[in-house]
């Protein structure tokens, strides 16, 4: 099929050789424009009706505007958190799918999501009366890290093979999911409801410090992804080939998994169980720009941001006066698009 295409479209092929990333750049540009436009639209929509002009004025001069507070303190942090969380989950998913060489992998698979969920529900069930809710993200992040550590150490036996990592991961995830359900069953209604919303995934009531909390892991791990992209592509070919290409398998794998844990861990901490983004965004990226980790990462991040942004927008404005958790709409938005891409890519 490639040969056929080369014969039919030589000009494009030649162009691609000069600018090897043409298609990726095009898609990236398009997605970035979409994201910018969506952020702008998202800013003007909400339970309080606002005109675009008023929002623009409020953005420029928050002090002199009536809606300065709404725009700067309610909508903007929420939009910012949606964008960052989506990007982090998408990149975490892309890393894991590459590492364990399994298209079904997502941050769930090494226990990150279920660990965070369990910690969050323990916190909500036992400490929510006595401690400030500000500690919830911290508890969730600690849970994610502990779970990942536990999975890694249980899967460790003179090194970690992807197969063992996956098996131990799904086993522990199942157990932690069971404990979570159990805790919800025994806790009182208010805590249970809170836990349900958390598990569905929501960025309701996001504040600027949440947005800031997302930044360290993204700032640290995104550059790492590009640095290690070649190693990642080599690992995708199998351990022995990667070794032959001069990759230090154990070290690269550890660094990559650690970045994935940091990204997904912080995303889950601030937004709860939105992990479907981590599963589907990398696949959408692959369908859009093909394989190759360096290409996949930015596209997946943009796709993830768009999905979470729209999911939250829908939850915020579609069912007014209700403000529904974004997690409900994440699959509703991601899945149809993915079905379309899958159908189109029949070959």
């Amino acid at each position: 099929m490639t040969a056929e295409m080369t014969l039919r479209r030589p000009a494009k092929r030649r162009l691609a050789r000069i600018l090897p990333l043409t298609r990726t750049w095009g898609v990236a540009l398009l997605l970035s424009l979409m994201l910018a436009a969506s952020v702008a639209v998202s800013l003007t929509l909400g339970s309080f009706p606002t005109t675009p002009a008023a929002v623009a004025r409020a953005l420029a001069y928050p002090a002199s505007s009536d809606i300065g507070f709404i725009v700067w303190e309610l909508r903007l942090p929420r939009i910012g958190l949606a964008v960052l969380v989506g990007a982090a989950l998408a990149v975490a998913g892309a890393i894991l799918q590459g590492i364990v060489r399994n298209p079904l992998a997502s941050p769930d698979v090494i226990g990150i999501t279920s660990g965070a969920a369990m910690a969050a529900v323990v916190f909500l069930a036992l400490f929510s009366a006595s401690m400030n809710a500000l500690w919830l993200p911290l508890a969730a992040m600690a849970g994610a890290l502990l779970a990942a550590l536990l999975v890694f150490s249980l899967a460790w036996k003179k090194g970690v093979t992807p197969a063992r990592l996956v098996l131990v991961g799904i086993g522990l995830s199942a157990a932690m999911g069971a404990v979570t359900t159990l805790l919800i069953v025994i806790s009182d209604d208010a805590a249970a409801m809170h836990a349900y919303v958390w598990l569905t995934g929501s960025i309701y009531g996001a504040q600027w410090h949440d947005v800031l909390g997302m930044l360290p892991s993204l700032a640290l791990c995104l550059p790492l992804c590009f640095i290690l992209a070649r190693h990642m592509d080599a690992l995708a070919l199998g351990d022995s080939i990667a070794q032959g290409l001069g990759v230090n398998i154990a070290r690269s794998r550890l660094v990559l998994v650690a970045s994935s844990v940091a990204l997904a861990g912080s995303a889950v901490a601030f937004a709860g169980g939105l992990s479907f983004v981590g599963l589907i965004a990398p696949h959408i990226a692959t369908r859009l720009v093909g394989r190759g980790f360096a290409r996949q990462v930015p596209i997946a991040a943009l796709v993830g941001s768009l999905i979470v942004l729209y999911a939250d927008l829908l939850g915020r404005v579609a069912f007014l006066p209700k403000d529904l958790p974004a997690g409900i709409f994440v699959s509703g938005i991601g899945a149809p698009f993915f079905v379309y891409l899958l159908h189109k890519s029949r070959s």
Binding site: P103, A174, V185, F319, V339
Partner: protein, 339 residues
């Protein structure tokens, strides 16, 4: 792992014994303990004036039968899915079966005044079939070939779609969904035997398919080119095994709702004990699945007495330690190249 034929046979017989023990325990234990002697007398000379006999035949026995049947079916279906997609993360849910059943039940409940799990059986079964057919249609390439990767991806997409539709419906109309939520959590309690009997032919067909095709399923593990080289028609084999999965998992979901863990994890346990040969592994799955679900159901009755703990929670809690042990010991060389 059990390596010789002899050891495997002993293993299967032992498994059968354990399953029978779990079955009897499931019947005997509960808020009113019933002795095994009462069981035999109830079966042989049923006396409607005795409360124990009534409890036994209307509640305990159906519950145990359903647990054993559903546990065995889900485990076998999961094993077949993992073989066909060559993916250790695959479970019957990957074919969209659970999500389809859930969606159809939610739609039916919002249109018709249904209220008990017994009335969900047919919509759930229909939903499971529709979703599975949709996944298979979507995963066909241009020339009608079905690759494992596309099945998995299409399954994920269709599952997500149906789940989000159902969640949407549940949110728009929150009244009257209490029983649906209960059904979603998965349970083997309160299922009448009359509910199960019409589905028995489906289970039977699936079991026959598995028995006949176990050897061919082994060949699928070698990769499709190899199977073609052996002169086996891959498409037919896969279609029949796929049908078996739909029948087994679809009927199970229809009867018992969503019971997690069994379809995903038990096949790995069986593989760890009996190896990759489906002729040993599938019976192993059936016994382990039945045994696990029976035990979990008994444990769920006693964990927090007034509370009904979802049986899926107990399967995970009981099964995980054993599973991790097996994964650590065996995953290295058994699923090599399959993850």
């Amino acid at each position: 792992m059990l390596t010789t034929r002899r050891a495997k046979s002993v293993g299967l017989i032992l498994g059968l014994g354990l399953t029978l023990l779990a079955f009897v325990t499931s019947i005997a234990l509960g808020t009113t303990p019933i002795s095994p002697a009462t069981l035999s007398s109830a079966l042989l000379h049923y006396d409607p004036s005795q409360v124990n006999h009534i409890i036994l035949l209307t509640e305990r026995l159906p519950r145990a039968v359903v647990a054993a049947l559903v546990g065995a079916s889900l485990a076998i279906a999961g094993a077949l899915m993992q073989t066909m997609t060559r993916n250790p993360l695959a479970s019957p849910g990957i074919l969209g079966i659970n999500a389809g059943a859930m969606f159809f039940v939610v739609v039916t409940v919002s249109l018709l005044p249904l209220s008990s799990p017994a009335e969900y059986v047919w919509p759930a079964l229909l939903g499971a079939f529709v979703a599975a057919v949709l996944v298979i249609l979507l995963s066909r390439g241009r020339h009608g070939e079905v690759s494992p990767l596309r099945v998995v991806l299409a399954g994920v997409a269709v599952t997500a779609l149906f789940v989000s539709f159902s969640q949407g419906l549940l949110i728009v109309d929150q009244q009257g969904f209490e029983s649906v939520l209960f059904w979603l959590a998965g349970s083997v309690a309160g299922r009448d035997l009359a509910l199960v009997t019409p589905l028995l032919p489906l289970f039977l067909v699936a079991i026959v398919i598995c028995a006949v095709l176990a050897r061919h399923a082994n060949a699928l593990l070698l990769g499709e080119d190899m199977v073609k080289g052996l002169g086996i028609n891959v498409t037919t084999i896969k279609a029949l095994l796929g049908l078996a999965v739909i029948l087994l998992a679809g009927s199970s979901v229809a009867i018992a709702g969503m019971i997690g863990f069994v379809g995903l994890i038990v096949p790995h346990m069986a593989r760890g004990l009996f190896g990759l040969d489906h002729r040993w592994m599938l019976p192993g799955c059936a016994l382990l699945g039945a045994c696990l679900l029976l035990t979990a159901d008994v444990a769920a009755r006693f964990l927090m007495p007034p509370q009904d703990v979802p049986v899926g929670v107990m399967t995970a809690l009981i099964g995980t330690p054993f599973f991790i042990y097996i994964a650590r010991r065996e995953a290295g060389h058994h699923t090599k190249g399959r993850a």
